[in-house]
Assembly symmetry: C2
Homo-oligomer: 241 residues x 2
């Protein structure tokens, strides 16, 4: 079909290439700092051609963020096999892989990043309805996946609160980690598994229904799993007497 | 100075009145849904006069959010007296007072709310650099206040992470609570105090420096305070044997 030396890409193939190039650039710098010119140069095409595939900067950026959001939601998917603590620890490993790979992009997106004011002529990427909806959909996917592992088809309000607030805790822990990486990520992955148990335990300490759920979950855990020794270690911290 | 029947307000007085009116409206609906016309009507002045005191919608909204942010940061200020758990519980009471009073405004701001796209001609209020900076300054104020109570002038990275991630947990717990208010707020206020101890304990379970800090903090707590019985209750949840 083409007489050119370089093979001409199909429309969808070119769109996917531009999305991949954008995500690669967002892994090093905040999306707000990356121009269409840079994306065009990195893709080896002209700026006007980028606009042939995406009508505006926002549409390309949103497509890239949608792909990243799908990727992130996918990292929470875990087979329903084996002890729960070990499952959650594997999920945390994949979550931190994602955070590691997409550092500045993840950070800008979740922080509602350093968006440019409309009056400044820049593009407001973060905090738009589309990006907020993407963040919300990832949080919802993570929430539903965890609830499915807990086998609570109709989770009580306190369990929903524990799971949703833990998802938020995982986000903020990852964001704080990205700012200097002063604690080894493996430690934080394990810590977040323990935090889940700890938040559930706090809720269970004052609510019988939550206590029943927690006992059932912990009852299936092996003593040498990531949930196994936590409460014993916590008990050791209690003031003597 | 004026011959009118109604006393004419000074510039700063009028600005403060408009800010108060805006905040009152934001306590019932998201800022993005509140128009300048409504604010003018509620203040009993004309729309053009609003623009005399604030050059644009964004400047009035940012002034209102700045006042709310100052108010919120102030709720974290607590005398350095008495047991830490009781101090934090009082702070949580004032925090939930704020959340209760400013429901939709707080929610829209922290969620990066349902902002209107620039191309739609609307005002993007949330996710702007100014509002993001405000949110960041409140988080920083809360963080610094807590660190000062822990008497750790040079907090280790793990303590910084625990405190900052707990601040984020308090935010998300409040946001989830606002969505239906299905758990009594007093329970969540106490739960967040316990969550703080639990997150610190998880970090301390695997780090000697954090364990030392936690033992010192818990050592000063009365047995009947909000920190006092938590670890004992948690220990009771541990699987027997």
């Amino acid at each position: 079909m083409t007489t050119g030396v370089r093979r001409r890409m199909g429309v969808e193939e070119r769109r996917q290439q531009l999305i991949a190039v954008a995500l690669e650039l967002f892994s090093h710098r905040s999306p707000d700092e990356v121009s269409i010119d840079e994306i065009a140069a990195a893709a080896g095409i002209s700026r006007p051609l980028v606009y042939h595939y995406f009508p505006g900067k926002l549409s390309l950026y949103e497509a890239a963020l949608r792909k990243a959001a799908d990727d992130l939601a996918g990292r929470f998917v875990e087979p329903h096999e084996g002890p729960l603590g070990a499952r959650l620890l594997r999920v945390m490993g994949r979550f931190f892989d994602f955070v590691d790979e997409h550092g500045p992009g993840f950070s800008a997106l979740m922080r509602g990043g350093p968006a440019v004011l409309p009056s400044g002529g820049g593009t407001t990427l973060t905090g738009t309805p589309a990006t907020n909806a993407l963040i919300g959909s990832v949080r919802q996917a993570a929430y539903e996946e965890i609830i499915s592992h807990l086998e609570q088809p109709e989770p009580p309000a306190r369990l929903e609160l524990v799971v949703r607030s833990w998802v938020s805790l995982a986000e903020s822990t990852a964001l704080i980690w990205l700012d200097g990486r002063r604690v080894p990520r493996a430690e934080l992955e394990l810590q977040l598994v323990h935090d889940f148990a700890a938040l559930a335990a706090v809720s269970a300490a004052y609510d019988e229904e939550m206590a029943g759920i927690l006992r059932r979950v912990l009852g299936d855990e092996p003593a040498d799993g990531p949930f196994g020794d936590l409460l014993v270690r916590l008990a050791a911290l209690a003031p003597a007497g």
